[in-house]
């Protein structure tokens, strides 16, 4: 959050790209690409989330402490998901 006022144009550009990405993710979902489907769906979702965070939530113009908090929360989510999955993936071994 900063005093920096984001020009209107940026908002509309971001909005349209979000719309396009939504359309793409739905379209891609109809093709049978095996495991690639999930990877693609997730990477599109991550880019959409990144756009919202950087521009709509002004993190791009925010002090680095805010960026640290955002990165930290996603890192902790990753810790929760990845180490627990290390149990489930290795159950058969």
């Amino acid at each position: 959050m900063s005093v920096h006022v984001v020009p209107l144009r940026v908002y509309f550009v971001i909005f349209t790209s979000l719309m396009i990405l939504t359309a793409v993710t739905v379209a891609v979902a109809y093709l049978d690409l095996g495991p690639l489907n999930t990877i693609l769906a997730l990477s599109i979702a991550v880019t959409k989330a990144a756009l919202v965070i950087l521009y709509f939530m002004h993190v791009r113009y925010s002090p680095s402490l805010t960026k640290l908090v955002v990165a930290g929360s996603f890192l902790w989510l990753f810790i929760l998901l990845s180490i627990t999955m290390s149990d489930y993936l290795s159950r058969g071994w």
Binding site: V5, Y11, L18, M19, L31, N37, L65, T84, M85
Partner: protein, 226 residues
Amino acid sequence: MSDTPSAAHPAHLAHHFDTVEQQRESSSLGMWVFLAQEVMFFGGLFLAYLVYRSSYPAAFAEASHHLDVVLGGINTVILIASSLTMALAVYYAQTGKRNLLVLFLLATMLLGLAFLGIKAVEYHHKYVDKLIPGVAFSYPGPNAQHAQLFFSLYFAMTGMHALHMIIGFGLLIWLVNDARKGRFTPEYHSHIEIFGLYWHFVDIVWIFLFPLLYLIGLHDAAGGGH
């Protein structure tokens, strides 16, 4: 943003802060730390989803056919639009245009309401198809137990997300009549910014929910819908 030349202690500055700058940064950091906590809150749900989808991929893909991709898609568009209107509301709060601020806050409320409406319709469809997990769950496909697991997760995740939307809607009502009374000026509008962060967060949660719940079964079966 020039500091108000009036008394060294402008009206809206709380007693325990030294400068307006410090107060605004504190409230923004506070909100971001709260959102980090929310990420972990939804993280527990995503963990359950990840674990069960990796154990029963076929059942999940097959069960997700019973979700209406069209309604889900419309909801995604609505929610992203509401993110846009919220961002514009913040913009007009920063530039001090009071009635545009009120207008876009109302637009955000409207879109939020539309989202919840569609959600209610979807829940009703599940009720009609007897797909609500628990006692009255009947599922035509081969592995009904794992499908019930999918619907348990579906209701837990979308239900918790809808609850956050309702909380957001309540806060919006409070913000709108504050904005109408002209309480927010270019120097002091952190309430709007803070709420904007919360609203965008709720939108981001849906951005992940939509593909993970609605789009995982489309490729193999004959296509979406029932």
